[in-house]
Amino acid sequence: MSGPLYLAWRYLARHPIKTAILVASIALIAFLPAGLDSLVDQSAARLTARADSTPLLVGAKGSALDLVLSGLYFESDPPTPVSWSALERVAESGLAEPIPLHLGFRARGHPIVGTSLEYFDFRGLSVAAGRLMAMLGECVVGAGVARELGVSTGDSLLSSPESVFDLAGVYPLRMRVAGILAPSYGPDDRAVFVDVKTAWVIAGLGHGHQDLRSPEAEAAVLSREGERVVANAAVVEYNEITEQNAASFHFHGDRSGHPLSAVIAVPRDEKARVLLMGRFEGGDETVQVVRPAGVMDELLDTVLTVRSYVVAAMRSVAVATLATAALVFMLSLRLRQREVETLVKIGAARGSIAVLLASEVVFVLAAAALVASVLTLAVRHFGDAAIRALLLT
């Protein structure tokens, strides 16, 4: 190492705290916009990936964003329900494969998603332990739910009442855990999946009770008039579906009127997608078909606008930081005036002194650039894993 470079190095080494502060502040201000950019890009990619992979969502007319956030991420309140007939319309069109979604109930804080087996195929979800639900009253829990609640196959999970004060409302249902899903690092990890019919049982649209013709139920019968039997509230209704009482479970009313929160429609091809969207257009139509990718793009456009403001603000801070660093160097130079004079007196050339001082600045800037690059690369490489870990906990 030549003389001026060696002296510059020794100077920085002699003042480690000052050097470290300079390197850290310059590195951070260079890293933050790039790192934030990278993190937001990765998060946005994940967010849009779920929307991109969900071709169409059918729901009640209203906020498309609420429908998408509920139907895709099980967040926010469930949207206004549509009837099962909306799913039948999709199926009968022959244009798309419908997958029902019933949302709104929770089990120990986790959303209960009433759906069909096709949902697991569609999302590419696999079972890590046990099996998919097969009978009324069974549930399959996401990896995050299993980890957080410590449940395993064969355990029970109780649905939460809609309201603790709603004494006449929906009874909780004890659900048997049939299987646990492998981690998918998304909303499915935090959900409890049941057959949509089980969701209807929780909603009180189906139930199992004593046979009112049996002697055991006699005490609960208020009157019998031919084939008409009126029972009081003492009739035993089951809050758990077992092999013994499963046959007594039944649904009331017309199936086509039973509620769904949304329907995922998987069209055969692009033409079918457009045709299906056209089928649900019309002023008196109570059902809407949305393209989740379009809705999320709209949302992300807004989020990315906010990001650009943040990045602009950071750039201003960067300019201020660099100006401060320049000031630090200039003040440092003034404080070192006597040191410079000493160098001149012992015969150092003015050029060598300039090289010495410039080298100190270059060393600091180079070190800061190196640290910023390492941090940015780390975010690019490990940001995805960090987000996954964050999502699963």
Binding site: L39, S43, A44, R46, L47, A49, R50, S53, S63, L65, D66, L69, Y73, E75, A91, E97, P98, S116, L117, E118, F122, R123, G124, L125, S126, R131, L132, M133, A134, M135, L136, A168, A178, S184, G186, P187, D188, D195, K197, H207, L212, R213, E227, R228, V229, V230, A231, N232, A233, V235, E243, A246, A247, F249, G253, E298, T302, I387, R388, L391
Partner: protein
């Protein structure tokens, strides 16, 4: 383009990272057998017979109900349900037959209700009790007669539904399936003609059915029947005989159709009342002796033909 509402927008922005999800689009393959045959699960013997006859060696037909139970009231265990879930096709009878389907989680794709084409011709069983309890209001568990195949013309419609489902899954063998369907339709038409002739002698004369499972048979051949709830392997008690005697006064039947051979004592006591017992097996489940469903139906017809 709709404007975004601020409240969900903020919520969405807040959960933008938390909601992000990895997509692993590796949908499991369909469950065709290793040899490429279509995996077809059914809920009754007639459907097993139709699917096997139409599909030939292009399909593997599975009917998991044990031979000693009535498939209408049987419930598969979880393991069997998982097998049903994995099938390429699940042929259901509809009309409320195999009610376990209502309580099971099955794939919509591949599920074929073979009686949906004549839903408007299904027979509702009267007398289902109406009851009321709790806030749900008055309701009844109305039932539908489900042995649709006892009307061979409806059975032929079910066979056509089976063929259509097979053709949808394996269009490359459509001609083959159609040819076999043609043969089956001819056999069913011959059975229908034979039963029509065999029941012509009964006409509008009163007859009895040991169980209310002959509704479609009764309607098809314009019979005048009343149903009991008698089991072939159990001797009716005194109350049941008294009910029968009362019924015979209003409905002087000289013939009773049984699902299976009744006890000799029952047969004798009925004969003493002038009521002849004839076995007419609905054939919902496999025959213990390996007889095919069509053979059983033709045997039923032969027994009816033997009635003087």
């Amino acid at each position: 383009m709709r404007r975004l509402r601020p409240t969900p927008l903020l919520a969405a922005a807040a959960c933008a990272i938390a909601c992000a999800a990895a997509e692993e689009q590796s949908a499991p393959p369909r469950a065709s057998n290793e040899d490429g045959r279509l995996s077809v699960y059914v809920v009754s013997e007639p459907l097993r017979s139709f699917a096997q006859q139409i599909g030939g060696d292009r399909v593997e037909v599975v009917f998991p109900a044990p031979p000693d139970v009535d498939p209408a009231h049987w419930s598969p265990d979880a393991e069997t349900l998982a097998a049903y879930q994995g099938a390429d096709l699940l042929l259901a009878n509809g009309a409320g037959y195999a009610s376990w389907r209502e309580r099971a989680t099955l794939r919509r794709r591949g599920l074929v209700n073979t009686s949906s084409g004549f839903a408007d011709r299904l027979i509702e069983i009267s007398g289902s009790p109406t009851h009321q309890h709790g806030p749900a209001g008055e309701h009844s568990h109305a039932e539908t007669a489900f042995t649709t195949w006892l009307d061979p013309r409806l059975a032929a419609e079910q066979a056509r539904a089976v063929s259509a489902a097979l053709e949808r899954e394996r269009p490359e063998y459509a001609e083959e399936f159609q040819a076999r369907l043609g043969s089956l339709e001819a056999e069913l038409a011959a059975l229908d003609a034979r039963l029509e002739q065999a029941t012509a002698g009964i006409g509008a004369a009163p007859i009895l059915f040991s169980h209310p499972v002959y509704a479609y048979f009764e309607r098809r051949y314009a019979l005048n029947g009343r149903s009991l709830h008698w089991e072939p392997d159990a001797h009716p008690d005194a109350a049941a005989w008294a009910e029968l005697d009362a019924l015979l006064e209003a409905h002087p039947a000289r013939l009773i159709l049984w699902e299976a051979e009744p006890l000799a004592q029952t047969r004798g006591e009925l004969a003493a009342r002038g009521v002849r017992s004839v076995v007419f097996a609905p054939g919902g489940n496999r025959a213990p002796d390996g007889e095919s469903w069509l053979e059983r139906m033709n045997a039923n017809a032969a027994r009816l033909e033997a009635v003087p």
